[in-house]
Symmetry: C2
Subunit: 145 residues, 2 copies
């Protein structure tokens, strides 16, 4: 007979693996400028909080944000650290990232490192969807010349 | 006989009020440059993620960060929006802020608005302590002149 503590640990491990897979899919979609792929990871009422930009709430606004972002492809993101904690219907992932970002009309490339969490919420169909994403840079602000 | 759904709702409401009070105390401590007051709100292994600064992990680093910050008093923060969600031993608060920040040797004042979450974790003694705090500005980076 498995006791409930063992069962909890096993369930948490399965959920942690599911969330790691979801984050990997999200990263692939972002690096491929795949709008439908990114939107598939988000819950309907999610909140995206980009630096130097107001909050972006809900599927329509999130679609508009990434649609604009993907007009200039060539940026690349990777996660250099991930720690996942599951509690009830919420999962919280603390991340560190490295990025090279295309920006400006001259297509300059800016390298960046930073950090932030993902918050996932379990959906009625048991899938995990992003409820919140926020990040900021570790480095002093760079200003377009 | 109260059913478990009613009991859950009542407990969540009490917890939500506790977290709102904790955030209010944290804000008072920050605005008063009260180092002990700020540290009392943090869990031992918390992660503070300030913009344009590397992650700050654990009580010793968090104390050093706020100790430096409070060497230049006069900044003022307020929260203009709060939404709290409790799930098991984790509570997640989405916030928007307005701030006037003293910075630089000339004691210039920079106004800022932005957003970010608090993540709280329930401690063995039932109190809620900050496990994570991250924020970023809504506005373009300002550069010291």
């Amino acid at each position: 007979v498995r006791n409930s503590q063992d069962r909890l640990a096993a369930e948490t491990s399965i959920e942690t693996a599911e969330i790691a897979r979801t984050t990997a899919s999200l990263l692939d979609a972002i690096n491929a400028s795949d709008l439908a792929g990114v939107l598939a990871m988000w819950s309907d009422d999610g909140a995206l909080m980009p630096p130097q930009h107001p909050s972006v709430h809900g599927r329509t606004e999130i679609e508009r944000f990434f649609s604009r972002l993907f007009q200039q492809p060539g940026s690349h993101f990777s996660f250099t650290f991930s720690q996942i904690h599951v509690s009830g219907d919420v999962a919280f992932e603390r991340l560190e990232y490295a990025a090279s970002v295309r920006s400006g009309q001259e297509e300059s490339e800016v390298r960046d490192i930073g950090k932030g969490p993902h918050v996932y919420r379990r959906q009625p169909n048991e899938s995990w969807k992003l409820a919140m994403d926020i990040w900021n840079s570790d480095t002093p602000a760079t200003v377009a010349e």
